[in-house]
C-alpha cells in the first residue's frame, strides 16, 4: 500500500511545475485503529478557533488537531508565517495557542503539544488577524529583508522623537504571541515542602530504573515526570521488549510496583522547574488543567519545594530540527514527534511523508508510518552511508532512499505540498534538485541531551566532539545524570545507566542498593551525525532557513551577527534573539551554536553555550505566589483598638505592616473636613489617639544605663527613674536611624519606644551591639510592642478626662510634670502612664496590657464625653506634630541627615566620650555649612499646600534643568494657623531664614518663605499646662 514512486509531475525542475494535488482525506482515517495509549479513549468534543472538533480522551491538543488533519495552528512572532506543530512535547516552539477554561481562565501561549483536551476544551490561534488562514500581518514576511537581526536598532533611528510614540508601539503591536488575560486569576494555587533521599527527575526508562533501584534499597524516593503518565520515550516505542515483556506491559508493571511502595511518591504532570542550592528543587504539579469538571475549591497547581539528599536527572534528550529553506511550513515536523503521535495517540500525521535526516532514529518513524498506512515515498539521509539493516528494512517497505542528499526548498502556503531534494556529491557539490510531493516532511538532526537542570546548579558542560553534543561534566551538587541526558541514547543503555545511577545515589544516601539488569530486544538504532544548516545549490543568503522558530531567527541572521562583529554566543543570542523565546531555545540552541561556530571558524565549545536558567518550562505566576496572595500576601497587624476604630468608621492607612486609622469621617465629611475638625477638637479640648503601633523595647539589667549611653546620642546616667527623655539613635555613619521617647522605669529598667516602622530594626541593632560588640554588658532586651496598648489623650482637657480613672498617681502638674512616667492603675488594670506629647498640647500616653486596651479606650472615651473628646487618626496626628516641628524619621529624614541637619543638635550628649555614630559627626563633610538642613516653609499664598517630595530651586526662572537645592518633606493645611505649613530640607537652609525659595510644579511655580520649624506655641506653654 505504500507508494515509493515519486509523482511524475513533480520530478521536473520547473517553476511552473506544481506537484499534483493531494486528495483531502476524511479526518477519521488519520486514526489508526487499535493503536495508541488511548486507543480505547472516549470521543471528546473540543474547539479550535470556533470550529467544533472531535478528539479522543487522552489526546493532547496537538494530537487531536493532527487527527483532524490540522497542521496550521499559529502565525510566527515576527514574520507572521503560517506555522504548524513541530514537536510532541514541552520543547514546542510553534504550536502555541490560547486556551480558555471558562470563568476568566484564559491562558495565552499554551503549547498544544502538552495541553490535554477534555469535553468542551476551547482553544484559539494567536498572532493573526483577521484569521489564521488570512493574516494581514503576513505582509511582514514579504518585507522580511527589512527585518533582519537587529533591524529595529538600525532602521528606526530617526527622528529620535518617533521612537517612543510611533516606532515602538507599531513594532510591539506587530510582533508578539498571545495576549495576557485581563481578569484576575480566579484559581487557587497550593504549595508544600517535601524531603526525600532520592529525587528522580524524568520517568522515562532511565528514571524508572533509577527510581526502582533506589526504592528497593528502602530509600525515600520521589519520581517526577512532566507528562500525564510515566514512561517517557517508552510511550512512543511500544514494539520493544524488556525482560521478555512488551514495553508497555513492562511499563505498567514497574509503575504499579513503584506506586505500591510506601517509600515512593510518583508525581506526574509535574515539572521540575528549577534546581537550586543544596539539592533544593522546585516542582510544579498541574492538578486540574486537564479536567472537564474541576472539583470545587481544588487548587489548579501545586508548587513542591523538595530538599533531596540525592538527585538523579533523567530528563532525556530533545530532537534537533534540520535547518534548510522552508523548514518552518506547517507539515514540517520532527520525525520523533511523528512517531509519538502515531504510537502514543494512534494518529498519522499525514498521508504522504518524506523523511530527511542525519540520524537513524528518523528511519524508525518512517518505517512505523509506512506500516500503518502513510505513504513514505522517500528518505533523504544526509549521511553518504547508513547501516545495511536500515536500508534493507526501507527496501522491504518500498521506500526510496537517497543517501548523501539534502533538502533545499519546500512549497505550500498553509501546508507543505512538496519538498525539493538534491544529491550531494562526496566533494560536497550539490547536484540538481527535484520536487517530491508530500503533505508532511519529517526531519531529524539528531538529539540534544536535556541538561537544563544540571546547568541550573552551575555544573559544567563538556563538548563531545564525536557526537557534537554537550554532556554533563563535574557536578556541583549531589546529583547524577542518567540515560539520554548523558549521551547514552537507546533503551538498553538508558535502563542500565538509570539503574546504576539510582543505586549509586541510594548508596550515597546511606542505603545498600544494587542496580538491577534489564534485557532489551528490538530497539531502534540510534547513531547519527550533527550538521549545521543543510548544503544547498542556491544562495544561502536568501534562504528562509529557520533556526529558532518561535522568534523567527534564520541561519542568515546568525551569520549577519557574526559579520557585524559579534563573537560571544551570549551577544549573538541577544542580537538575533536566538533561543530567547518561551521555549528557551530547546530546539534551536545547538543549531544556532553550530552555525555561529562555523561562521566564526571556531569550534563549538570555544563559542560556548548560553546559560540555562529556571524555570525549565514557562510557569504560572500563580504557582510561584501559591497561598501568598490577597490578604495572605502580607500579614495585616491590628492593634487591640482596631475593632473599635472599624466600628466607628475609620478610614485606614497602612503603616509598615499595621493598618492604622487615618481619620474618622462624620457623615458628609471628606479627608480635609474630618482632619480639620479633629485638629480643632484636640487643640480646643481633648483628643484620643491609638498609638499602640509604636515600637516598644524593654531594656533591663544592671548595665542598662551603660548600654543606653553607648547606643543613643543622649545622656542617660543622670536621668532619674520616673522621668522620660527624647532619645535619638544614629548609625555609625552619624545619620539618624530612629527616635522615640524613653522612660526610665527603675534604675535598671528602660521603657524604650521606637517609630512604628523601626521597631524590628532598632531591636536588631540593639541585639547586634549587645551580642557582638559589648557581650560583657549584663542587659536583656525584650520586644514589648504587642504587649502594651497605647492610648494617647491629648489636649487642654486631657488631665480632666483621665483624672477620675487613674489610681495611684498624682496628676497635678508639679507632681507629674511634662516628661514624667509612673506606674499606677487605670480602670483597675495596671498601667504605665507617660506625660508626653506629640501634639504640643498637654498630653498623656496610657500604656495598659494589650488585652485591656479596648476596654480602657472605651472608658476614656466615655469619660471624655463631657469634654467633646474627639478620636483622631494618623492624618491629624501628622498635622499636629508638624505644627510643632516634631519630625517623623523616614519622612522628614532620609538616611542622610545628622542630628544637626534635623535641628536636633540639642539631643546629642556633647560630654559623652562615645556613642554609636559620634565619631562620624566630626568628619569634615558633616561640618559643611551647605549641608541640607530641615527648615519650615510658609507658602506666599497661604492656601497652597505644597506637594510632599516637591523639589526646591533658588530661582523662579532660568534654564532647565535648574539646580535643585532641596525638597519638601511634609506639608499640611494647619487648621490652627488657618494656612498651609511645610517642612523641607534645603542646602544651608537655616541660613536662608526669611528668604524666598521656589517649588516648580508641572503647571506653575509656588513661592515660599523659609521659616523656623515650630509654627505653633514656640514657647511650649500649652505643653506645660
Amino acid at each position: 500500500m505504500t507508494n515509493a514512486r515519486v509523482i511524475d509531475a513533480a520530478e521536473t525542475e520547473s517553476p511552473t511545475a506544481r506537484p499534483s494535488v493531494i486528495p483531502v482525506v476524511a479526518a477519521t482515517s488519520l486514526r489508526v485503529p487499535g493503536r495508541g495509549r488511548n486507543a480505547a479513549g472516549a470521543p471528546v468534543r473540543f474547539s479550535f478557533d470556533g470550529r467544533s472538533l472531535t478528539g479522543r480522551a487522552g489526546d493532547t491538543l496537538a494530537a487531536a488537531l493532527l487527527a483532524n488533519g490540522i497542521h496550521l495552528v499559529g502565525r510566527s512572532f515576527k514574520y507572521h508565517r503560517p506555522r504548524g506543530i513541530l514537536s510532541a512535547g514541552c520543547e514546542e516552539p510553534n504550536a502555541l495557542v490560547g486556551t480558555d477554561r471558562g470563568k476568566g481562565r484564559y491562558e495565552p501561549n499554551t503549547r498544544a503539544t502538552t495541553a490535554e483536551i477534555f469535553e468542551g476544551f476551547c482553544s484559539t490561534s494567536q498572532n493573526c488577524w483577521p484569521s489564521l488562514r488570512t493574516d494581514v500581518g503576513a505582509i511582514n514576511d514579504r518585507l522580511a529583508p527589512l527585518f533582519s537581526a537587529g533591524f529595529y536598532y538600525k532602521t528606526f533611528m530617526w527622528p529620535k522623537s518617533f521612537w517612543n510614540k510611533v516606532y515602538e508601539p507599531i513594532i510591539r503591536g506587530a510582533a508578539g504571541l498571545g495576549k495576557p488575560p485581563t481578569e484576575p486569576d480566579p484559581d487557587t494555587y497550593a504549595a508544600r515542602y517535601a524531603h526525600c533521599d532520592l529525587l528522580v527527575v524524568g520517568a522515562g526508562a532511565a528514571g524508572l530504573a533509577a527510581a526502582l533501584a533506589g526504592a528497593r534499597s528502602g530509600a525515600k524516593v520521589i519520581l517526577v515526570d512532566e507528562q500525564a503518565e510515566a514512561g517517557g520515550w517508552l510511550l512512543s516505542e511500544p514494539d520493544v521488549t524488556i525482560d521478555g515483556r512488551p514495553a508497555w506491559v513492562w511499563l505498567s508493571d514497574v509503575v504499579r510496583i513503584l506506586s505500591g511502595m510506601p517509600n515512593v511518591t510518583v508525581l506526574t504532570r509535574t515539572t521540575a522547574i528549577g534546581y537550586y542550592h543544596q539539592n533544593f528543587l522546585g516542582l510544579c504539579q498541574r492538578l486540574t488543567d486537564h479536567l472537564a469538571t474541576v472539583p470545587e475549591g481544588a487548587p489548579r497547581e501545586r508548587l513542591w519545594k523538595v530538599r533531596a539528599r540525592q538527585v538523579v536527572l533523567a530528563q532525556g534528550a530533545i530532537e534537533k530540527p534540520l535547518v534548510f529553506a522552508g523548514n518552518d511550513r506547517p507539515g514540517v515536523m520532527l520525525a520523533g514527534a511523528a512517531r509519538s503521535f502515531l504510537n502514543r495517540y494512534g494518529v498519522r500525521v499525514g498521508e504522504r511523508a518524506v523523511v530527511v535526516t542525519s540520524h537513524d532514529s528518523a528511519w524508525a518513524a518512517a518505517l512505523d508510518l509506512a506500516r500503518t498506512g502513510t505513504a513514505v515515498p522517500l528518505i533523504v539521509d544526509l549521511r553518504p552511508t547508513v547501516s545495511p539493516d536500515l536500508l534493507a528494512e526501507a527496501r522491504r517497505s518500498g521506500i526510496e532512499v537517497m543517501c548523501g542528499g539534502t533538502v533545499t526548498d519546500t512549497r505550500g502556503r498553509l501546508r507543505i505540498s512538496a519538498v525539493r531534494v538534491n544529491p550531494v556529491a562526496a566533494s560536497g557539490t550539490v547536484g540538481e534538485g527535484r520536487w517530491v510531493a508530500c503533505d508532511v516532511l519529517l526531519m531529524s538532526g539528531g538529539w540534544t541531551p536535556s541538561l537544563h537542570l544540571f546547568s541550573h546548579t552551575g555544573g559544567k558542560l563538556i563538548w563531545d566532539e564525536d557526537d557534537q553534543i554537550f554532556l554533563p561534566g563535574q557536578a556541583t551538587e549531589a546529583c547524577r545524570c542518567a540515560g539520554a541526558g548523558t549521551g547514552r541514547f537507546g533503551l538498553a543503555a538508558a535502563l542500565a545507566d538509570g539503574a546504576a545511577a539510582g543505586a549509586a545515589a541510594a548508596r550515597d544516601a546511606g542505603f545498600a542498593a544494587k542496580a538491577g539488569g534489564f534485557a532489551v530486544e528490538g530497539e531502534a538504532a540510534m547513531t547519527g551525525i550533527a550538521c549545521r544548516d543543510l548544503p544547498t545549490d542556491r544562495d544561502a543568503a536568501f534562504a528562509k532557513a529557520f533556526v529558532d522558530f518561535q522568534n523567527d531567527v534564520q541561519a542568515k541572521d546568525i551569520r549577519l551577527a557574526v559579520r557585524e562583529g559579534f563573537r560571544s554566543v551570549e551577544h549573538i543570542k541577544r542580537y538575533t534573539t536566538n533561543g530567547m523565546a518561551t521555549d528557551q531555545g530547546k530546539t534551536s540552541n545547538i543549531n544556532g551554536l553550530q552555525i555561529a561556530a562555523n561562521a566564526l571558524d571556531r569550534s563549538a565549545p570555544s563559542v560556548g553555550l548560553t546559560t540555562f536558567r529556571p524555570p525549565y518550562t514557562p510557569t504560572t505566576f500563580g504557582a510561584f505566589a501559591g497561598y501568598n496572595r490577597g490578604s495572605l500576601f502580607e500579614v495585616t497587624r491590628r492593634t487591640p483598638i482596631d475593632a473599635w476604630a472599624a466600628a466607628n468608621g475609620a478610614v485606614w492607612e497602612p503603616v509598615s505592616l499595621w493598618r492604622r486609622a487615618r481619620y474618622f469621617p462624620k457623615a458628609g465629611e471628606d479627608l480635609h473636613a474630618a482632619v480639620a475638625r479633629e485638629c480643632r477638637g484636640v487643640r480646643a479640648s481633648v483628643g484620643l489617639f491609638d498609638a499602640s503601633t509604636l515600637g516598644k523595647i524593654e531594656v533591663v539589667g544592671p548595665d542598662a544605663a551603660t548600654f543606653m549611653n553607648r547606643l543613643y546620642t543622649n545622656a542617660w546616667t543622670k536621668l532619674e527613674p520616673g522621668r522620660c527623655r527624647y532619645g535619638l539613635l544614629l548609625g555609625e555613619d552619624g545619620f539618624i536611624r530612629d527616635d522615640g521617647v524613653i522612660g526610665r522605669m527603675a534604675h535598671d529598667r528602660f521603657h524604650v519606644t521606637t517609630s512604628t516602622g523601626g521597631a524590628a530594626r532598632v531591636l536588631n541593632t540593639m541585639e547586634d551591639y549587645l551580642q557582638t560588640e559589648w557581650p560583657e554588658l549584663d542587659v536583656f532586651l525584650t520586644s514589648t510592642t504587642e504587649q502594651w496598648a497605647v492610648i494617647a489623650v491629648q489636649g487642654p482637657n486631657a488631665r480632666n478626662v483621665i483624672a477620675s480613672l487613674v489610681e495611684g498617681i498624682d496628676l497635678a502638674p508639679e507632681a507629674f510634670p511634662h516628661m514624667a512616667v509612673a506606674e499606677g492603675r487605670i480602670c483597675g488594670v495596671p498601667m504605665r502612664l507617660f506625660r508626653v506629647s506629640f501634639t504640643g498640647e498637654l498630653g498623656f500616653e496610657i500604656n495598659v496590657p494589650a488585652r485591656y486596651g479596648r476596654a480602657v479606650w472605651e472608658a476614656v472615651h466615655a469619660a471624655g464625653r463631657p469634654y467633646d473628646i474627639v478620636p483622631y487618626g494618623t492624618e491629624t496626628m501628622h498635622v499636629l506634630r508638624a505644627e510643632k516641628g516634631y519630625i517623623v524619621v523616614g519622612q522628614d529624614t532620609d538616611g542622610t541627615l545628622t542630628p544637626d541637619d534635623a535641628g536636633l543638635g540639642w539631643a546629642v550628649g556633647k560630654a559623652k566620650a562615645d556613642f554609636v555614630g559620634k565619631r562620624s559627626l566630626s568628619r569634615l563633610d558633616m561640618l559643611k555649612p551647605d549641608r541640607k538642613q530641615l527648615v519650615g516653609l510658609l507658602t506666599q499664598d497661604p492656601r497652597i499646600v505644597l506637594q510632599e517630595g516637591g523639589q526646591i530651586v533658588a530661582e523662579r526662572d532660568g534654564p532647565i534643568p535648574r539646580r535643585m537645592i532641596g525638597h519638601v518633606t511634609s506639608a499640611y493645611w494647619s487648621e490652627a494657623l488657618g494656612r498651609s505649613i511645610a517642612l523641607a530640607v534645603i542646602e544651608g537652609g537655616r541660613s536662608l531664614q526669611g528668604q524666598t525659595i521656589y517649588v516648580p510644579m508641572p503647571d506653575t511655580v509656588h513661592a515660599a518663605t523659609v521659616s523656623g520649624m515650630v509654627f505653633l506655641d514656640p514657647e511650649g506653654q500649652r505643653l506645660a499646662a
Partner: protein
C-alpha cells in the same frame, strides 16, 4: 534556598530563618575618637568584597536570635563553616580560600 547551620542551635535550617549581617571580624574600634578620618572611613565603608571564601555575619533571627559567623564561597554559595561570634576565624579554611 540555602541550608545554614546555626552554631548555637547546632542544626541546619533553611535560609528564611536567617538574616545576613555583612562582613565578619570588623570590630568596632575601642576608641573611635582616636581614629583619623581615613581609618574611620575604612571601618565604616571599606569591605573586602571577596570572590571566593568570605567571612560574614548571619543572625538566626527567626530561630535562636543569635549572631554568628560563617565562611561562605561567594562564587558557589557553599558554606565552608559556621562558628560562634567571638571565635577566631578558621585560618586553615581562609588560607585555602585565598589560593583559589
Amino acid at each position: 534556598m540555602l541550608l545554614i547551620t546555626c552554631p548555637y542551635c547546632a542544626a541546619a535550617r533553611p535560609e528564611i530563618e536567617f538574616a545576613y549581617a555583612g562582613e565578619a571580624h570588623i570590630a568596632r574600634p575601642a576608641d573611635p575618637a582616636a581614629l583619623g578620618d581615613e581609618a574611620w572611613r575604612d571601618y565604616l565603608y571599606i569591605r573586602s568584597n571577596t570572590r571566593g571564601l568570605h567571612v560574614e555575619r548571619w543572625r538566626h533571627i527567626n530561630g535562636c536570635g543569635r549572631f554568628f559567623n560563617a565562611a561562605r564561597d561567594t562564587v558557589t554559595d557553599k558554606f565552608a563553616a559556621t562558628y560562634r561570634a567571638g571565635d577566631a576565624r578558621p585560618s586553615a579554611l581562609l588560607s585555602e580560600g585565598v589560593q583559589r
